[in-house]
């Protein structure tokens, strides 16, 4: 299925931010905004909620910590007890470095893997580049066109009156 988009091209960060605010206030849904670099405050004006990735990190870390402690206690205390340095088989201080490392490892890996899954990043991913200049010096705002619903002229006016230097149309093969 093909999707049609209207692309508003901007060349100024501040103009872009106010444009996003005005366009959203006018009741238009913005599909996505592409930018060559992270823009401060763009998440807020686009109404994007904060990522819940830190929760994954916390539970990943908790899993890593439990796994490390269980592994060491089971190995050193039950499976193959050895006397090392005259210490008890299960002596927590010597387990802490490994526990720390595995906590960090698990929380980092769980975050990366979750991020790949959630954002559908995989080798077979085909990316539609709306406008190549969004990797250079332009900001690209994409608005989805719904046939029969979207008033193209009004949208064009809205984008231009909010500082877009160009308004293009693009069809994307899904």
């Amino acid at each position: 299925m093909n999707k049609k988009f209207v692309l508003g091209i901007y060349d100024d960060e501040d103009v872009l931010l106010t444009a996003i605010e005005n366009i959203r206030a006018a009741g238009t849904n913005i599909y996505e905004v592409f930018s060559p670099y992270p823009v401060h405050g763009i998440d807020d004006v686009l109404g994007i909620k904060r990522s819940r990735l830190p929760i994954v990190a916390f539970f990943g870390g908790l899993t890593g910590m439990s796994f490390a402690l269980w592994m060491q206690i089971w190995m050193m205390g039950f499976d193959w007890p050895m006397i090392i340095g005259g210490k008890p088989h299960i002596s927590l201080p010597s387990f802490i470095p490994v526990t720390f490392e595995l906590t960090v490892l698990f929380s980092a890996f769980s975050m990366v893997i979750t991020f790949f899954i959630v954002s559908k990043l995989r080798p077979s991913l085909k990316v539609n580049v709306f406008d190549k200049r969004s990797t250079d010096d332009k900001f690209v705002m994409a608005i989805e066109v719904k046939d029969g619903v979207t008033n193209m002229d009004a949208l064009n006016d809205l984008l231009r009156s909010n500082g877009a230097i160009e308004v293009n149309e693009k069809e994307v093969v899904k």
């Binding site: 830190p54 340095g85 010597s94 470095p97």
Partner: protein
């Protein structure tokens, strides 16, 4: 940019004086209790032998001097960290912290007081705090001759110690005043010259601080346990000072903000301060554990004695503080400040910073008491009273310094960046 002046009302000042007065009353009450033999086994003043009930007899003067020393090292550290913080921000070309930099700059107004108290306590109570100051330890013919301490006399001797102390304070006070002066002149005249000069001053100070903070930690804290040694001790004391100083800066920002000052400081600045407090409470734990792990693992008597004295030794006198130290200074800030929202809310930050300030006071308590008062240490009127007096004096000096100039460095070149700080 708008100038903001802090006005310390007479009422607030009276509160600080009341704090000092209450401290003095408590201290005197504690002294009277001790001198009158409040605890039944405390009357054996003068002999160094342990008394019957397991509590070592400690004279009230000794306890007083150790308390003065403890609080003075703690508060001097916080004052010094103020200058260190500003120097780090300058050298890192940091922009976000410009709005709050007058607070750490004003912390160092306590340094001259700290220097005088330290000098006086060392001159009059040196024997009570430091075992190594006794002459007989170095006399081969004396039965109390101590070859280990005598071997350290090249560094640990009265005059060199005194000279070092004077040099530390002279350098710290000089650089603190220099940075303050540049910053105040910048307010009046503007331009970027003062900024560039401050960077050079800060770089010099950081080198000096790196050396003196470590040697000061050996002198003032480590040498109490003269036989013991730790190559990590300078770092350990620095970490404790640094996180307490950061907590003090953050707490001051919050209190000023709640009283209607620092209008341009928003949750983004608090967030960064919160990250600092969070990160360095972990850093302190890392240093604490690195020191502990090696001694625990090697288990060499002359090394592990330090931790035995604090864990099961001294009749378990310090066991609860040992574990409380870790809970208050690591577990609590770690779990509470982990989320983003907690670092951006004043209430959570306030609770955590107060906990850290109290917790690190106990950290210093744990570093000093087992080596001086042993089982005779307590937590009574004397401890509370001395701490209150120091807190009152510290706040008087700090707020007086803070109200001298505008809270906002109006001509700092990075001020605009700080106002629009966003994380």
């Amino acid at each position: 940019m708008t100038e903001e002046r802090l006005i310390i009302s007479r009422k607030t000042n009276n509160k600080f004086f009341l704090m000092i007065a209450v401290g003095v009353v408590l201290l005197i009450a504690g002294i009277i209790f001790m001198a009158a033999g409040g605890g039944a086994e405390h009357h054996a003043e003068g002999h160094g032998e342990a008394a019957a009930a397991g509590h070592e007899a400690v004279s009230w003067t000794k306890r007083l001097f150790v308390n003065l020393w403890l609080n003075n090292v703690y508060f001097t550290g916080i004052a010094l960290v103020g200058t260190f913080f500003v120097a780090v921000q300058y050298v890192a070309y940091a922009g976000w912290s410009v709005l709050i930099k007058r607070i750490p700059l004003a912390l160092s107004y306590f340094l001259p007081i700290g220097g005088i108290v330290m000098l006086v306590v060392f001159l009059f109570g040196g024997h009570d705090v430091f075992h190594w100051t006794h002459e007989y330890l170095y006399d081969v013919n004396d039965p109390r001759y101590d070859p280990i301490i005598a071997g350290k006399s090249g560094y640990l001797n009265f005059w060199f110690f005194l000279i070092r102390m004077v040099i530390y304070f002279a350098l710290w006070i000089y650089f603190s005043m220099w940075l303050r002066r540049e910053s105040n002149n910048e307010d009046l005249n503007g331009g970027t010259n003062y900024y560039h000069k401050s960077i050079r001053i800060s770089a010099m100070f950081l080198v000096i601080f790196g050396i003196t903070s470590s040697t000061a930690a050996w002198d003032w804290v480590l040498s109490i346990d003269t036989h013991w040694f730790s190559t990590m001790f300078g770092w350990y004391v620095f970490a404790s000072w640094w996180v307490s100083g950061l907590a003090a800066i953050t707490l001051t920002v919050i209190i000023l903000k709640q009283n209607g000052y620092l209008k341009m400081v928003n949750s983004n600045h608090l967030h960064d301060l919160g990250k600092f407090v969070f990160a360095f409470s972990i850093f302190w734990t890392y240093i604490w554990f690195s020191q502990f792990l090696l001694y625990w693992y090697a288990n060499i008597p002359e090394e592990s004695i330090y931790f035995i004295e604090r864990l099961s030794g001294n009749e378990g006198h310090y066991t609860w503080i040992f574990f409380m130290n870790l809970i208050v200074n690591f577990v609590f800030p770690f779990l509470v400040l982990m989320t983003r929202d907690a670092k951006r809310q004043m209430i959570m930050l306030k609770i955590v910073t107060i906990a850290i300030l109290v917790g690190h006071w106990f950290d210093f308590y744990l570093m000093m008491m087992p080596g001086t008062l042993r089982t005779g240490a307590g937590l009574g009127f004397m401890e509370l009273g001395t701490a209150l007096i120091f807190l009152g004096v510290f706040l008087l000096a700090f707020t007086k310094g803070l109200s001298k100039v505008s809270l906002v460095p109006v001509n700092h070149p990075f001020l605009e960046e700080s106002v629009h700080h966003h994380v």
